[in-house]
C-alpha cells in the first residue's frame, strides 16, 4: 500500500548493505551491544531510525529483526539488544569478523522542534536503545537534556554512560530499588517534567510507560514523541504487519514510524483496530 504523500515525497530509499561484526559484548544482564562496520548506513542514519538485520542464513528462523541504532559514528553503528528469543540468541553468538546484512536506515526517527532549549528523555529498559543517538544529537544542537532512565534492576540498566556524557541531568529508577529511586521511571519523569519545563518529551519503553508519559506530557501541554515497537516482517512498508492506529488512520511502524507524535496515537485501538 502506498501511503498518501509517499510518491511525490523525495524519500531517501533504504540501502541493503553487507556489514561486518566489529565487537559483540554483554553489557547488562540479558543485554548485548553489537558494533557493526556499516559505512553506508552509518553515514545516513538519523536518531531514532532503525535497521533490519538478517542475523543468520540457513537457520530455521527466516525473518529479519528490526533494531534501532543506539549510536553511529564514522563507519560504525552500534545496536543494543535484549536476548529474548531464537533470533537474539543467534545475534549474541555472532563473533567479530563475521558478516551479516542490514537494510537501512529505515523509518522516521525523532525530530527536534525548532527553538527547543530543553528536552526530557524517558527510557524504560531497552527503550534507551534508540535514545543514544538522540541525546548525542541534542548535545550537538545545544539542547539541554534531562533523562529519566528506568529498569527492573540495577544490573539491567543500560546506556547510562551515554546519557551521562551528553545529558545535563540523569535520574534513575529501578523496580526493586537496587539503583536510583525505587519504582517505575514514570515517577521521576513526572517530576522532571514539572521542574525542568522541557519544550519536548521523548519516550521509549514498554507501551504502558509510553502511554503514561504521553498523558503527563499532554497534561503539561508539552509535545511528546514516542517510539513504538511492533512485530515486522518486511520492514519497508509492504507487509502491513506493524500497523499502528492513529488519529489519521492506520500507519505502519516501519515507515510512518517508529517514532510518532504521541497525541496522534490511539493507544487502545493500536492493539485492537476496528474489525471489518
Amino acid at each position: 500500500m502506498i501511503c498518501a504523500g509517499d510518491i511525490s515525497a523525495s524519500i531517501e530509499h533504504p540501502l541493503l548493505e553487507r556489514v561486518t561484526v566489529l565487537a559483540n559484548d554483554r553489557v547488562a544482564t540479558g543485554v548485548g551491544l553489537i558494533a557493526l562496520h556499516a559505512p553506508r548506513v552509518a553515514a545516513r542514519i538519523e536518531p531514532g531510525q532503525f535497521v533490519h538485520l538478517r542475523i543468520a542464513r540457513g537457520s530455521s528462523f527466516l525473518l529479519r529483526r528490526p533494531f534501532s541504532v543506539h549510536l553511529a559514528g564514522g563507519e560504525r553503528i552500534e545496536i543494543l539488544y535484549q536476548v529474548l528469543g531464537e533470533g537474539t540468541r543467534a545475534l549474541a553468538a555472532r563473533a567479530p569478523g563475521e558478516e551479516m546484512d542490514v537494510i537501512g536506515p529505515l523509518g522516521r526517527g525523532w525530530t527536534v522542534p525548532d527553538g527547543a532549549a530543553h528536552a526530557l528523555l524517558v527510557a524504560g529498559g531497552l527503550g534507551a536503545a534508540p535514545m543514544g543517538m538522540l541525546v548525542a544529537r541534542l548535545a550537538d544542537l545545544g539542547v539541554a537534556a534531562s533523562v529519566a532512565l528506568g529498569a527492573p534492576t540495577k544490573e539491567r540498566l543500560v546506556a547510562l554512560d551515554v546519557f551521562e556524557a551528553h545529558a545535563r541531568r540523569v535520574v534513575l529508577a529501578t523496580d526493586d530499588g537496587s539503583a536510583g529511586e525505587h519504582g517505575f521511571v514514570t515517577a521521576p519523569a513526572g517530576r522532571l517534567l514539572a521542574e525542568d519545563r522541557p519544550d519536548v518529551v521523548y519516550a521509549c519503553g514498554p507501551e504502558v510507560m509510553e502511554r503514561a508519559v504521553a498523558r503527563m506530557a499532554a497534561d503539561a501541554g508539552v509535545p511528546c514523541q514516542v517510539s513504538l515497537e511492533r512485530l515486522m516482517a518486511c520492514g519497508i512498508g509492504a507487509c502491513l504487519s506493524c500497523v499502528v492506529a492513529t488519529r489519521s488512520g492506520q500507519k505502519r511502524a516501519c515507515c510512518d514510524g517508529p517514532v510518532f507524535d504521541a497525541k496522534e496515537v490511539l493507544w487502545d485501538a493500536s492493539e485492537v483496530p476496528p474489525r471489518h
Partner: protein
C-alpha cells in the same frame, strides 16, 4: 531479450533515477545470455517466469529501491476490495520453523484509491500488472472486477478465493467446488481480461477445485495460498496471533505446494502459476518441473527484498548448467 512492451519503455528510467536499485549485495544484471526466459501465461507474454506473490510486494513501490518492477515477469499486487478494509487486530504475524504465519486480513484502501494511487504509479513501469481481487461476497468480487476491467493498465486479474484471514468470503469460496465455480463464472461474465484464480491448499482435493474453475473459464490457476495454521505462546497460555489462526507461508510449505502444483497441472489444461516457499532459483525450477508455467515469490521478499532477482538469476544459472535453451522447457519436465 525481453519483449518490447507497447508501453513506453523509457519512462521507467526517469523513475529509476529516484528509486533505482541501490543494492550492494551480489545481485547481478539479469544477463540472460542464450537462455530464453520468456513464458506465456493466461495469454500474457512474460519476460521471465518470476512474479511477485500477492500480499508480499504491495504494489511494488516499497520494493522499487531494490527491484525495478520492469525486471519481473509480472507484478502481482496485494488484494484489493471494493471498499477500504481495516485488516485484523495485532499481532498479525508469528514466526514459525522455516516459515511464518500471517493474519493481516487483506487490509487495503479499496479499489478507487488503488486505481488512483497504486495503479497510476505502476503504469509508469514496463511490467505486466496482475491485480489481485478480494471480496466478502460474490457480488463484491464482481463489482471489483467490473471496476478494474475498465482500466487499461491492468494485464490480468487474479481472483483470491483462498485467503484464510477474513471472516466472510475469502477462503470460503475456494474450499468448495460449487462456490469456486460460481465466483469464477460471475467474474468471467464481466471481464475480458485474462483471469487467474488463486486456489486454497486447505482442501481435500485441490485438483477438483482447479477443474471446476477451469470449466467456468479461468485462464490460469495460481497455487498455493497459505496453509491455515496456528502458533501458541506457552508462557502466556495465548495464541501468538490476535486472531488465533493465520496463514502459513515460507519454505515450511514448499513440499505441500509442490505436491499440489504437480496434482493440479496433471488435472487441468490451463497454465499453473506455482508458489509456496520459493527462496531460490532452484526452488522455482522444481515448481516448473512439477508443472508450473510461471512462479511467484512471496515470503522470501520479506527476508531479502532482492529475492525475485536472485530467483531469476538462479533460473538462468540452472538452465545454463543443464544446457536448457528456453525456461519454458522446464514446465512439466519432471521425469518418471
Amino acid at each position: 531479450m525481453p519483449p518490447k512492451s507497447p508501453r513506453d519503455t523509457d519512462r521507467h528510467h526517469e523513475q529509476g533515477s529516484r528509486t533505482g536499485p541501490d543494492v550492494e549485495s551480489s545481485v547481478t544484471d539479469n544477463q540472460t545470455g542464450t537462455v530464453d526466459l520468456r513464458v506465456k501465461v493466461a495469454g500474457i507474454e512474460l519476460r521471465n517466469p518470476v512474479m511477485s506473490a500477492s500480499g508480499t510486494f504491495a504494489s511494488g513501490f516499497e520494493y522499487a529501491a531494490f527491484v525495478e518492477p520492469s525486471r519481473l515477469g509480472a507484478l502481482v499486487t496485494k488484494g484489493v476490495s471494493l471498499e477500504p478494509w481495516a485488516g485484523n487486530a495485532s499481532p498479525r504475524i508469528a514466526e514459525t520453523a522455516s516459515g511464518m504465519l500471517n493474519s493481516i486480513g487483506l487490509q487495503n484502501p479499496g479499489v478507487e484509491v488503488f486505481i488512483a494511487r497504486d495503479l497510476a504509479w505502476l503504469s509508469t513501469w514496463d511490467v505486466p500488472v496482475v491485480v489481485n481481487v478480494s471480496g466478502h461476497s460474490v457480488e463484491e468480487y464482481v463489482a471489483v472486477v467490473e471496476r478494474l476491467d475498465a482500466e487499461v493498465g491492468i494485464d490480468a486479474l487474479e481472483v483470491n478465493i483462498s485467503c484464510p484471514n477474513v471472516d466472510a468470503g475469502g477462503m470460503a469460496f475456494g474450499t468448495d467446488c460449487s462456490s469456486a465455480a460460481e465466483v469464477t463464472r460471475r467474474v468471467r461474465a464481466v471481464t475480458g481480461k485474462p483471469l487467474i484464480v488463486k486456489l486454497s491448499p486447505n482442501v481435500t482435493d485441490i485438483a477438483e477445485i482447479a477443474r471446476a474453475v477451469e470449466a467456468e473459464g479461468a485462464d490460469a490457476v495460481s497455487l498455493i495460498n497459505t496453509l491455515l495454521g496456528m502458533a501458541i505462546d506457552a508462557h502466556s497460555f495465548k495464541p501468538k496471533l490476535a486472531r488465533a489462526v493465520g496463514g502459513l507461508s515460507g519454505p515450511a510449505i514448499k513440499p505441500v505446494a509442490l505436491r499440489m502444483v504437480w496434482q493440479v497441472s496433471r488435472a487441468v489444461g490451463i497454465p499453473v502459476i506455482g508458489m509456496g516457499g520459493i527462496m531460490t532459483g532452484e526452488d522455482a525450477v522444481e515448481f516448473m518441473l512439477a508443472g508450473a508455467s510461471a512462479v511467484a515469490v512471496g515470503t522470501a521478499n520479506f527476508v531479502d527484498p532482492t529475492a525475485t532477482l536472485r530467483v531469476i538469476d538462479g533460473i538462468v544459472a540452472f538452465c545454463r548448467e543443464h544446457g536448457i535453451a528456453r525456461a519454458s522447457e522446464l514446465t512439466g519436465a519432471l521425469r518418471g
